[in-house]
């Protein structure tokens, strides 16, 4: 592979990164080729020693996306970062994809539970209001109207405040898990190397 082909393959693999970053990265490899040539190495030799440009490009992309997930306030930014790191190697299907899936299920499950508690609270509140205005809709043997009203109010307040507490707790847990995930992804990238071309 010659210099032009190498740089083109690398540029293709860097797609999606900010243009300034792409140019900066390419200039490092361009400089590498020009110094190597001036020291009497051949283009093929230099390219082979650099390693597969597609893999190197993927490594830069993973780096960039994880960096973004780290600095972004959006929780969703972790998702492309996880996929980019999984794409680095087969090894990561076990060490990144499986734990990510487990954590995603855990977080989604907790958010669904929180949603359910809040919906139950809203339901209780709606029921209590309905009872207040249309008592004839309800068939409640024996209990006095006032106590049913207070029971309804108590239940709706209880569920709503539990829901609010859960939402706060799960929010902090989500943020915490994402911070840990970013640290783990960085660690994982730092272990990644590209083999020399034979």
């Amino acid at each position: 592979m010659d210099k032009t082909a190498y740089l083109r393959e690398l540029e293709d693999a860097l797609g999606g990164l900010p243009e300034a970053d792409i140019q900066d990265i390419l200039s490092d490899y361009r400089e590498h080729f020009s110094v190597g040539l001036s020291e009497g190495r051949t283009m093929t030799e230099i390219a082979a020693n650099l390693g597969d440009p597609a893999m190197i490009g993927r490594l830069y992309r993973a780096d960039h996306l994880v960096q973004q997930a780290d600095s972004s306030n959006r929780v969703r930014a972790i998702i492309p970062a996880v996929f980019a790191v999984i794409g680095l190697g087969l090894f990561n299907i076990f060490f990144v994809a499986v734990p990510s899936l487990l954590i995603a299920f855990l977080v989604l499950g907790l958010w669904m539970l929180t949603g359910l508690v809040i919906i139950t609270g809203i339901g209780c509140f709606a029921g209590t209001l309905a009872y207040l205005f249309f008592p004839s809709w309800f068939v409640i043997g024996g209990a006095s109207g006032v106590s049913v009203f207070f029971l309804g109010l108590f239940l709706s307040l209880g569920f709503l405040s539990l829901g609010a507490l859960l939402a706060i707790g799960v929010w902090f847990l989500t943020r915490f898990l994402i911070r840990q995930a970013v640290r783990y992804l960085k660690f994982n990238i730092s272990l990644f190397t590209v083999r020399r071309e034979p």
């Binding site: 990265i25 200039s27 490092d28 490899y29 400089e31 590498h32 020009s34 110094v35 190597g36 001036s38 020693n49 650099l50 390693g51 597969d52 440009p53 190197i56 490594l59 830069y60 780096d63 960096q67 990238i189 730092s190 272990l191 990644f192 190397t193 590209v194 083999r195 020399r196 071309e197």
Partner: protein, 111 residues
Amino acid sequence: MNIQFKKGALELCVLVLLARKDCYGYELVQSISRNIDIAEGTIYPLLRRLRTEGYFKTYLQESSEGPPRKYYRLTKKGKAYRDQLVTEWHAFTSGVNRILGEADGQDSLSS
């Protein structure tokens, strides 16, 4: 040596080399790949990452042959990080060496 294991040491090598003197990319890459079997192209992403973390700065300097080159200089933060990694490395390798020494001792006893 295992690839995974090598990469952690790479960071240490880069920081130690730069602590001695400012280097341009090619020079740094050659100093490493002369001693460690690794794809040279992997070192540039590492350099970029360490720069993002604030461990070094870059500047351009004219060269007698060809276009200006990008030099890397260790920051104060980078020096502190190097010291930490060197200490950890010594602790780790001396631990491994002790274990190797004990194993050798047993080998010679049993034979």
